[in-house]
Symmetry: C2
Amino acid sequence: MSDEKLTPRNVDFSEWYNQIVLRAELADYAPVRGCMVVRPYGWALWENIQQALDKRFKETGHVNAAFPLFIPMSFLEKEKEHVEGFSPELAVVTIGGGEKLEEPLVVRPTSETIIGAMYSKWIQSYRDLPVLINQWGNVVRWELRTRLFLRTLEFYWQEGHTAHATEQEAREETMRMLNVYADFAINEAAVPVIPGVKSATEKFAGASMSTTIEAMMQDTRALQSGTSHFLGQNFAKAFNIQFLDENNTLQFCWTTSWGLSTRFIGAIIMTHGDDQGLILPPRLAPIQAVIVPIFKSDLESAPVMEAVTRVQAELKAAGIRLKVDDRTEVTPGFKFNDWEMRGVPLRIEIGPKDVEKSSVALARRDRPGREGKSFVPQAGLAATVADMLTDIQKSLLERATAFRDSHIFDPKDYAELTEVVQNGWALSYWCESTECEAKVKEDTKATTRCIPLDQEEGHGKCIVCGKDAKHKVYFAKAY
Amino acid sequence: MSDEKLTPRNVDFSEWYNQIVLRAELADYAPVRGCMVVRPYGWALWENIQQALDKRFKETGHVNAAFPLFIPMSFLEKEKEHVEGFSPELAVVTIGGGEKLEEPLVVRPTSETIIGAMYSKWIQSYRDLPVLINQWGNVVRWELRTRLFLRTLEFYWQEGHTAHATEQEAREETMRMLNVYADFAINEAAVPVIPGVKSATEKFAGASMSTTIEAMMQDTRALQSGTSHFLGQNFAKAFNIQFLDENNTLQFCWTTSWGLSTRFIGAIIMTHGDDQGLILPPRLAPIQAVIVPIFKSDLESAPVMEAVTRVQAELKAAGIRLKVDDRTEVTPGFKFNDWEMRGVPLRIEIGPKDVEKSSVALARRDRPGREGKSFVPQAGLAATVADMLTDIQKSLLERATAFRDSHIFDPKDYAELTEVVQNGWALSYWCESTECEAKVKEDTKATTRCIPLDQEEGHGKCIVCGKDAKHKVYFAKAY
């Protein structure tokens, strides 16, 4: 599996990415065009992502539920922008139980419409509000060009759908969930995303306003990593989601939706990986540390394995997600490469000399070779390992942040903008006109990624047309 | 919601069931024929079921993964019995991205075929075995007559798929997972299922042998509540799942599959519920105890709410899943009915007199009225509540077991068999011929449910034809 070298990132980033996904056994191509199989190691990573997010959703008052996979075609047609956005991407069931269906059923590309239909039934009074529901599940979008995790016909995600009595509450919810995503990305995945507002061109089909967290990959392209939408009363009006307010007046609800998908696994790979393979942030890694026993003879084996068993018990008791690689058919060197490919944050080597000295060798995945190696006493190892995992988590975030910041530019004019977006992001004033946005895209393939929330009040001249502009926007090539 | 009386079980069991599902807000009808929406309270119950099972799967060495929703039609056709069994029930995608597909895609009714195709790619050597993968997800079967949870077009389940080097290992795995299901049903859900082997007629399409856990509902019908299948080499041969054994000889794998679905929620409802509503086993209940504050004036409110807050903190700290019903727009009596409908195992009432006496009133959901009521000191309440929840769990199992055992009969002849299956199960010797099985079904609508594992070695005369028979089987009407 892992005895061949990866194609280096600077030779072919895209090929490097595909090789990691396959060779770290995160996912595989399914026998259906554009679909993927998420393998156990990849799914364990997704389960950890799910847990970290689900905890945050529940802490902010949300509950989970499940809505149908199939949506009547007529539902999608009720919201004009929504159907225009999604109709080219639909998978359609036309036969059920051997018979042609009277009304074709769409395999959900997203669930605003069917959930809207249910909310119109469940919500009667202001006392029923807010409704704060999330769903974990699969959706299907018929994409033509697909990449494992980044863009597949079927993908896994969560989609939150909330209904509120007032516009302000719905706007607050939109921003609350954007912040939940940013907090998750930065503090769990060590992916230093930038939260901001999408342009009208880039927003979700049917939304009044979309927000996003944007991450910079190591090829400097942007990856939209999670989105939170303020839907205004668009879906409430299309699906008749109404309530009697405290004055007994019938009102339309204000709704939001927000989602984060298995695409995020792509963000983790392309933020942290190196030419040896995947590097996983310790807080999300399915295996945080791997123990590799080292011995050459049966004589050496017994004391080494005795130490391994002891260390294993101690680390497990401390809650560290651990694997002992006791394969006999491969060499320690093969194992080192194998676990480096899979991105396990920390390797613990135990050989006869370590047993003698009551020590172990630690190798940090984020610092290759000697630099990342240390020899520490077996006494107090659980604490040493926990501290080092915390440090690796921190270092990964610092490194990714430094990379990102060194590839964000403030071009002085349009000519410079067209240059810097070839190998970075431009943060520039923009007049918010679709024309200027389109010109940049045509000239450079860069799109507006987001108007970052974190910017000083101010104004300047649009980098494209020179007109007055209130906000800076990120221009970047994107996945 | 809950101020109307349920239709009693003895008036119309089926109507009673439907009303509980809707009024306890477990699920609702979706706007797509035969599909359901699992509402937050129902989904929280399912999440607890998932956790209890997933823990057991991982303890027995299994890992989770995700395989595609779509299966090429040609895959299903590779296993003859399998396609015959499932083809009347398929939902078929014929259009993708606006174009007619060259090969129609089936929405998975179960995943043996697509997983088989992947296993043939992943498994090369005996060192790769066993493969022990489970998947949590949704499947679709185009049923004509549907019931919420019991039989819906789309349902949620887990499906385990394992591949082994030897027949014996695969048979052991089949029984291991059957036992996991039985253990879960009995010890988590208090549903006293009977594990056994399915007849050839009742087995899974494509299996060599199917096993099942069968539960008796309060109308004495049987509900198949989970199944585990030994697939022999049927799918290995259809999908070419081969490995090189230790002697370097190419062999076909032996495979198993096993599943338990949201149907199990139906089993819980119909095993434990009463004419006041749902009764949930404490180990799975999303809310184990509800606190209802009782006061008539603002003057009374302050000390009561102070006690409520204190008790709430103490119980939460003890890990009890708790809800405080502090609604002001409804009466305590309305709340009692409401939480009884939702099957919360324990109600804690706190009023001014309780505050005076430093006590609370407890009302057990499993014993209606005075019998289930007790007054206990606030001191040590967490332990009192935990003990009572344990006792409720135990009592529910005992009651369901007593009900089941009092409705299992040992008819002396065929005439008596046809009578007893009208209101119970018959446990009788059967010659294992399809003819005798079919005759019982024609005469009584009862089918063979399972040959129970737990029976003495022996032999007797088939209750239908009088020929020699080695095993007893359960005959019963079923869902």
